[in-house]
């Protein structure tokens, strides 16, 4: 029997949720037995080589590139899961949501103490190759349909393990109180 396939990505995240996935200790060996990984930083596959059963998304959408990756995941994954606070509500990057993009860029490239004296030509990076900032950070489900949400910053390794095995075995997810947290 073919193993279920998982894909993962970190959008506007810190890779902490991926770290938490690796934090399931020796159960990682069970996981390898249970599933194959396709597109994921874990195996460094850059493009979808096949349709996947589960996509795990860390981070929200902060750039146009995040949106493209997220839509790519939606198109290739049967089940899409928002993992962690950033994917669910924007998280730390979304703290810029009350500030205009121009102000953010000016602070980062023109006015901030570390750049103030170095950007003599007052250039805001505008190379066509660079991804474009969105007007605010969007939670993943405000861009595409998301099927499940696993909160936490990062989600507890146990929570991830339980959720994954439940999904793989077509069971209802149980979310034990001790590991169901937003921080």
């Amino acid at each position: 029997m073919e193993k279920p396939v998982i894909a993962t990505a970190s959008l506007a995240g810190c890779f902490g949720c991926h770290m938490s996935l690796l934090d399931i200790d020796e159960r990682i060996l069970d996981l390898i037995e249970l599933v194959d990984f396709n597109k994921s930083p874990i195996n460094d596959i850059k493009e979808f080589a096949r349709e996947c059963d589960i996509g795990l998304i860390e981070g929200g959408c902060c750039l146009d590139e995040n949106v493209h990756v997220l839509k790519d995941f939606r198109n290739h994954c049967r089940i899409l899961v928002s993992v962690g606070e950033c994917a669910i509500m924007g998280g730390l990057p979304a703290m810029r949501n009350g500030i205009s993009v121009r102000e953010c860029l000016e602070e980062a490239y023109l006015n901030g103490p570390s750049v103030r004296n170095y950007n003599e030509n007052k250039i805001l990076p505008n190379d066509e190759e660079l991804p474009v900032l969105l007007n605010r950070v969007y939670p993943c489900h405000e861009v595409v349909k998301i099927d499940y949400f696993l909160p936490g910053c990062p989600p507890d390794a146990d929570l991830l393990w339980r959720a994954l095995t439940a999904l793989l075995n077509n069971r209802k997810m149980d979310l034990p109180y001790e590991v169901f947290k937003f921080d």
Partner: protein, 600 residues
């Protein structure tokens, strides 16, 4: 400034419960209520600036910044929009050279939006320094701004001539028309003021008055329909050293204006009704709470109250009844729809934010200043006088068994004869349309935004408490109207503007629903959005007051009765659409960095 605030504070005896009046006078005297005034008031009344600020900031007509030598408040209601508000508003902006909700640099003109001002039969209308300017056109707006710039006085701005009936009374002088189209017991011009007080009351005990009211089966005319006799009886039986009568003349439901007409043409009937109620429950003090928009009636009504005192229809030992003392003071609101809810009205009359109270206790047990209080609608008091004059049997000969008597309706919208109609309960929606000369009707809003939007299949339904209950607002729409865009969106925005913000449900949910509606109107809606709106709106039932509980009615009733309009707007094949728009989301960054290529 210091001097005038002092005299204002003196005028209200430095009474913290009169904070509304103090703020109203400061606002009208100085054109704004600034930090200095707030500090002075706080110090004088022995409260904190925060205490003053929480009341000040609640009301639409209180402003912390100057609102201009000529402050223009243009109505945003559905009726105003239907009758050409957009062009009028644009002309105001172009001529004044400023956008709405700002003041010209020279401080001459301020332009502001405002919720329904009770002129739905003569829209678009604006209030300029308290004076009403109805039936505005772009042409008229140009004239107005030109005359304002030329330094003309408020009186000189009027070129229309004053309205019919008492609108031309020297104490009113308003460019407002009554538009009375059908009279009945309440609007009957053949009324002899004081007859009931003089001839009936002395021969009756308070309990007999209440019994007659109960026998007449009259119910509250504000919309909720609580039996009036029972209300008076409960209040009478609640023991207290002091009791109050309050008349709710804060009609703010968009499309309603009948109290305006009664206050103009039958105010003595209303005041007599308050005296009758005071006799029945044993009150010595009454408050006539009138919406700020009708402040142009102030002097006229104050003089009538004075006159009633002179004729012993108010004051001490009224009509010779030993120990029957009663006086009425007028309390103006300051721009807040929710104050039409009786407990919010009481809070407001006590000088506070108009936040409704949780019930029980009801005002009849614990009302104004925590004393038993009867709050009735203008029309209820008027009807009560007629019940006593002609007897309960006579009264019951009007209307249906369940809904006795008559109802004064405010009819507006797409009809030839907008105005005030006093009809017996039991009329159908079809009758109403026929009466008002509306023959192209796709929908009628019955009972204002908090009521129902009904379509032709419901036009034979009957206006009464048991079927289509209404406080009297009926707005008619013809086929040129986009019901979702012109009506439902406008009403939903109205509820958002007027929420007091105290309940989480009513503060937040209408905003969520409006965004969802906009998503559908912007062609990004999916079928699931419609069902979600219905599901989500249910939470509003947990709100404290009627405003919150009905805030989703425009959306709910339009989905129920005009589902096809929603179905047309959503894309049937799409199961899910987040509404996310990449082009729009990247615009800001592209502009900021000067990149030219748009992202795909």
């Amino acid at each position: 400034m210091e001097e005038s605030i002092s005299s204002i504070l003196d005028r209200y005896n430095h009474d913290v419960y009169r904070l509304m009046d103090i703020l109203i006078d400061v606002q009208s005297d100085q054109g704004f209520i600034g930090d200095q005034a707030i500090a002075r008031i706080a110090e004088d009344l022995g409260i904190s600036k925060a205490d003053v600020e929480q009341t000040r900031s609640f009301y639409h007509f209180f402003s912390k910044k100057p609102t201009g030598k000529y402050s223009i408040y243009l109505n945003t209601s559905v009726n105003a929009c239907m009758m050409g508000r957009d062009a009028v508003a644009r002309t105001f902006e172009v001529e004044a050279g400023i956008p709405f909700n700002s003041v010209t640099r020279d401080g001459l003109i301020g332009l502001f939006d405002t919720s329904c001002i009770g002129m739905s039969d003569q829209e678009p209308a604006a209030i300029i320094n308290g004076k009403i300017f109805p039936n505005l056109t772009p042409f008229r707006v140009k004239e107005l701004i030109r005359d304002i710039r030329a330094g003309k006085s408020m009186e000189e701005l009027v070129v229309e001539g004053y309205g019919d009936g008492q609108n031309s009374n020297p104490d009113i002088r308003a460019v407002v028309s009554n538009n009375i189209r059908k009279i009945g017991p309440v609007l009957d011009p053949d009324y002899k003021p004081g007859e009931v007080i003089r001839k009936k009351l002395p021969a009756m005990t308070p309990q007999q008055v209440i019994d007659e009211m109960k026998r007449s089966n009259i119910r509250g005319r504000g919309g909720a329909g609580f039996p009036t006799g029972m209300k008076w009886e409960i209040c009478r039986k609640t023991e207290s050293d002091e009791k109050y009568i309050i008349c709710n003349a804060d009609e703010g439901e968009p499309g309603t204006f009948k109290d305006r007409v009664i206050l103009t043409e039958r105010p003595k009937l209303l005041l007599e009704g308050m005296v009758v109620a005071a006799y029945a429950i044993g009150a010595r003090q009454g408050i006539l709470y009138i919406r700020h928009e009708y402040k142009y009636l102030k002097i006229y009504l104050e003089k009538l109250i004075e006159g009633a005192h002179k004729r012993n229809l108010m004051g001490k030992n009224i009509a010779g009844i030993e120990g029957f003392d009663f006086d009425v003071r007028i309390q103006f609101g300051a721009g807040s729809y929710v104050c039409g809810e009786e407990s919010a009205l009481i809070e407001s009359a006590e000088g506070k934010r108009g936040e409704p109270r949780d019930k029980p206790p009801f005002p009849v047990e614990k009302g104004y200043l925590d004393k038993p209080t009867v709050v009735n609608n203008v029309e209820t008091f008027c009807s009560a006088v007629k019940v006593l004059l002609n007897g309960a049997d006579w009264y019951r000969s009007f209307g249906t068994t369940d809904s006795t008597g008559t109802k004064v309706l405010s009819i507006s919208g797409d009809c030839r004869y907008p105005g005030v109609y006093e009809v017996e309960w039991g009329f159908s929606v079809n009758d109403i349309c026929g009466m008002a000369g509306a023959d192209d009707v796709i929908a009628v809003q019955v009972g204002g935004p908090s009521g129902s939007l009904v379509g032709p299949s419901d036009f034979d339904r009957i206006l009464c408490y048991a079927d289509l209950s209404t406080g009297g607002s009926l707005i008619i729409f013809n086929h040129t109207r986009d019901l979702l865009q012109d009506v439902v969106l406008n009403f939903t925005s109205f509820f958002i503007e007027e929420s007091c913000g105290s309940c989480s449900t009513c503060r937040i949910m209408p905003v969520i629903l409006r965004n969802k509606l906009l998503k559908i109107l912007n062609a990004r809606g999916a079928k699931s959005d419609i069902s979600e709106m219905l599901e989500w709106a249910a939470i509003l039932k947990a709100s404290r007051c009627g405003l919150g509980q009905t805030a989703a009615n425009p959306i709910i009733t339009s989905i129920q009765n005009f589902r096809h309009l929603y179905d047309q707007k959503v894309r049937g094949e799409v199961r899910y659409d987040s509404g996310f728009d990449l082009t729009q989301a990247t615009q800001e960054a592209i502009a900021a960095t000067g990149r030219y290529t748009a992202v795909d």
